[in-house]
């Protein structure tokens, strides 16, 4: 199992970052935090662009165990030798080179230490949909196209780890979705571990399987993404929400709905045709349901326009001023529900009570 | 650069511009503050650099000796610079050149009075080293010197021209030609020799006397006399005063003083001239 052992410290004028954590490098790890939390700094430390980092940073992948920073041994590996890629928020394409020359820049300098065969240039171009843009100059590209080139360029350098620093921040919504799909595809196809920094939890939730949360220069949470979001919700650190990964069952095209499997129940969400479904594999869809979008009934609703009703048991009851945060477990999945304290009292809700939760199809949100 | 720094830079630039103006207008103005007489116009004397110190002393003598009083404004520069300034309208009263060509040219172009043209001093060359005192006879020293020699540029400086004549007389010009450090005037030659960057220099003896240094005189027979001539300029408003001063300058006491200041003894030179007049036309290049 590849991992990144971080035990570093960075001190600037009014900022102090101190991380001691071991992050596993499988799939995509999200790094979430508000402005000033230190997430970009952490990325720079890993990339080698932060000269004031002290401590120890060791990357353990299948081939080697490399100390990238070791202050005691006076080791500080330069960024160009770390074999780590970085996609920046601004694409930073080289203005004096064409798109193709930009792509080749990384490829020409790859370290060639991968066990896999070298990446095929054409394959990456097709994957990132840049076929028609190769001969163009950088100035002629749109924002979304520029980021795709930046991504492809970083990939062609064949890094063993890809860092992404708010790569979607400068894009419009449509391009955001496209990039998210692309990143997911790339990760799976190349089996390339990624660290994805963002201040948008929604973005991260769509991609990452692990989540590292930073606040004021320190790690506050690390673990499976749904669990961490769960914790964040419980700690009132974010808007209460339920984060899920569910398998898609099928489409109800004539009704504009997609069906997701939840144990022996199902959840209906707005039709999502962007998901390419393969008959053999079960496509998994990540979605978020805000706690304020779910309501509770004592009896199964029979004639309601609200399409989603799930049966479950109340497992926790948290009063919060005039609200109550309920955790309801349906078919093994915990759902967070916000209701007024008044309703909770009216319905006499208590822990272990069997209830039904309801929410509209539209409440099931996904970025893709 | 910040705004403050830009301002400082501009001020320094203006200062620099004033200081490093081209040689064409780089004359130094020297105002004698002791004798201020607000009613009278000063007597503007343009003097070649090498004679300036001597001139000042003579003026002091004049003002203490004579009944009349001169308030001088002394303009010091190279003869060439002063000449150009006069040509372009500078309002000097008296011009003391280091050569005889320029006064002659001024007369020919009707800028100066022919009657006033006369030789006020004869230049005396000296061989000097700032590194070792010269103990040998200068002619032998020049012959033996294998290194470089500093002289004033023969094409533009009268002392340089004389130095070239000396080397030619000694049949050494061809030998020295590639080893010369040429100064733009005798003043620079003196400075260059003084810096010890060159072993040996042919300088003006008056400079050595002024600075209390010891060199070896180069016999005047080896070169054409360095006639330093003066003229009174036609544009002058003060020609009476100028005439008076010139008379003083040319009297025996003053001439003796001039010789003591490091210029050639008049008698020696006159003998040579007498010898030349017999067969030669007085040439000026």
């Amino acid at each position: 199992m590849a991992d990144l052992s971080i035990n570093v410290m960075v001190e600037h004028d009014d900022f102090f970052l101190s991380i001691n954590e071991e992050i596993s490098l499988t799939g995509i790890t999200g790094i979430f935090g508000h402005s000033g939390s230190g997430k970009s700094t952490l990325l720079k430390v890993i990339a080698g662009l932060e000269n004031h980092a002290q401590g120890k940073l060791v990357i353990n992948d299948l081939l080697a165990r490399d100390a990238l920073i070791d202050s005691e041994a006076k080791i500080f590996v330069a960024p160009q030798q770390r074999n780590i890629g970085l996609v920046f928020q601004n694409s930073r394409l080289f203005p004096h080179l064409t798109v193709e020359e930009n792509l080749r820049y990384g490829q020409k300098r790859r370290k060639n230490t991968s066990v896999n065969k070298p990446l095929d240039f054409a394959e990456i171009v097709v994957l990132t949909k840049l076929d028609n843009l190769l001969s163009k100059s950088v100035a002629q590209l749109s924002g979304g196209e520029q980021q795709r080139v930046a991504l492809a360029r970083a990939l062609l350098a064949e890094p063993r780890l890809l860092l992404l620093d708010e790569p979607l921040s400068a894009l419009d919504d449509k391009n955001k979705s496209l990039m998210l799909i692309l990143l997911d595809k790339v990760q799976k196809q190349l089996n390339l571990p990624m660290l994805y920094v963002s201040h948008s939890l929604a973005e991260i939730q769509q991609l990452a399987n692990n989540l590292l949360v930073l606040s004021s220069g320190k790690v506050t949470h690390y673990g499976d993404i749904h669990q961490v979001i769960h914790q964040l919700t419980t700690n009132n650190e974010i808007l209460h929400q339920t984060s899920l990964s569910l398998t898609m069952k099928g489409h109800l095209a004539e009704y504009g709905l997609t069906s997701l499997v939840l144990g022996d129940q199902q959840i209906l969400m707005p039709l999502n045709q962007q998901i390419e479904s393969d008959a053999n594999t079960n496509t998994s869809i990540r979605c978020i349901i805000a706690a304020s979008d779910i309501s509770v009934t004592l009896h199964e609703p029979s004639e309601s326009s609200i399409v989603n009703h799930l049966q479950g048991t109340i497992t926790s009851f948290e009063p919060c001023k005039s609200q109550v945060l309920l955790t309801v477990n349906c078919s093994g999945q915990d759902f967070f529900v916000n209701i007024t304290a008044w309703s909770a009292q009216r319905l006499s809700l208590i822990v272990d009570q069997k209830v039904f939760i309801q929410f509209k199809a539209n409440s099931v949100r996904t970025l893709r | 650069m910040g705004l403050l720094q830009v301002r400082i830079l501009i001020s320094l630039l203006c200062l620099g511009l004033m200081l490093c103006s081209s040689p064409l207008v780089a004359a130094k103005n020297f105002v004698n503050l002791d004798e201020k007489n607000s009613d009278e116009e000063p007597l503007r004397i343009a003097v070649a650099a090498n004679f300036a110190p001597t001139l000042r002393k003579l003026l002091a003598r004049y003002n203490s000796d004579q009944k009349a009083f001169i308030k001088p404004l002394i303009i010091v520069a190279s003869s060439g610079t002063l000449f150009l300034q006069i040509q372009h309208g500078a309002s000097f009263d008296l011009f003391l050149s280091a050569d005889s060509e320029r006064p002659q040219l001024l007369i020919e172009t009707d800028l100066a009075f022919k009657a006033s043209q006369q030789t006020y001093a004869y230049g005396q060359l000296a061989l000097w080293s700032a590194i070792n005192d010269i103990t040998l006879d200068p002619l032998i020293a020049l012959k033996n010197n294998e290194q470089r020699l500093a002289i004033a540029n023969p094409k533009i400086a009268p002392y340089g021209k004389a130095a070239k004549q000396v080397l030619e007389s000694l049949q050494q010009w061809g030998d020295y030609k590639t080893r010369l450090i040429q100064g733009i005037n005798i003043g620079q030659t003196f400075q260059q020799t003084r810096s010890q960057a060159v072993n040996l220099g042919i300088v003006s003896n008056s400079q050595l006397v002024l600075n209390n240094l010891k060199g070896v005189l180069i016999p005047t027979r080896l070169h054409q006399p360095i006639k330093q001539q003066l003229v009174i300029l036609k544009r002058s408003q003060n020609s009476q005063q100028a005439k008076h001063f010139v008379k003083f300058l040319m009297n025996e006491k003053s001439q003796q003083f001039i010789a003591q200041s490091g210029y050639a003894k008049l008698s020696e030179v006159e003998e040579k001239i007498k010898g030349e007049v017999k067969g030669e036309v007085n040439t000026h290049e």
Partner: protein, 248 residues
């Protein structure tokens, strides 16, 4: 050498001096400009002032001190004499050294400005793609700041050709070695040889105009240039000091 007309010889000497000076300046000016561009400490201002000094110092001041330093009286002159066996004062090497010092800001300032304008973004991206420092310089910095390099070299060259005061002090007017065009011009004027003086002057004016026009042409904002996502363009900026001095 004896058969070459003296003014042609002066021209050759001038070109040699300016050429060698420019090469030296590009070699030492580039790292110096880079160092200044990346420097963040307070000492930066002091070094910048030092580099800019020749802009405001009268050339005769610089020449005067150099003459002293190069003479055998002082250490630099002595060291030179010991290592090369030649005297430093009144030599070709002396005027090259003097020119390098005197034209330094004209080379360093445009380069420094260009490097500062380039910023760190593209260089960081290149590093993450595996490019070493030298690699980044040749594949990113140089191509993008190309025009500034040409400007710096041209300014350094032109300024050196026009130099008079420093060469006057430390040159010694030796034909073929230190008698450059500006000195030759002065000689002609002093010797009333105005015809030759005009020839030299007009040639200098014309060649300077041509060179400067080239520089300003290169510095025009060029609309067909490639733009990146960041407002970094290959348009070099003339430092203000140069613009104001050229307006003299």
């Amino acid at each position: 050498m004896n058969s070459t007309p003296p003014d042609i010889l002066a021209l050759i000497t001038t070109l040699k001096m300016a050429g060698i000076t420019t090469i030296i300046l590009m070699l030492i000016g580039t790292p110096l400009a880079w160092f200044l561009a990346k420097m963040k400490s307070r000492g930066k201002v002091f070094i910048e002032a030092l580099v800019a000094l020749p802009l405001v110092l009268p050339p005769t001041v610089l020449g005067f001190y150099l003459l002293l330093l190069f003479s055998p009286q002082y250490l630099p002159g002595q060291i030179w004499q010991e290592t090369t066996g030649q005297q430093l004062a009144f030599s070709f090497s002396a005027i090259v050294i003097g020119s390098v010092l005197y034209s330094l800001p004209f080379v360093v300032q445009p380069l420094q400005k260009a490097f500062e304008q380039l910023g760190d973004d593209l260089l960081e991206a290149a590093a993450m793609l595996g490019a070493s420092a030298l690699d980044r310089f040749f594949t990113i910095v140089l191509p993008i700041t190309k025009a500034s390099f040409i400007t710096a070299a041209s300014l350094g060259f032109a300024h050196t050709v026009g130099e008079f005061g420093v060469v006057l002090m430390i040159g010694g007017n030796i034909p073929g070695e230190t008698r450059v065009l500006s000195i030759a011009l002065f000689d002609h004027v002093e010797a009333f040889d105005y015809a030759q003086a005009h020839i030299i002057s007009i040639s200098l004016v014309i060649s300077s105009l041509v060179l400067l026009s080239l520089i300003y042409l290169l510095n025009r904002p060029n609309k067909s240039r490639l733009k990146s996502s960041k407002p970094v363009t290959s348009q070099p900026a003339l430092p203000d000091s140069v613009i104001s001095k050229r307006q003299k």
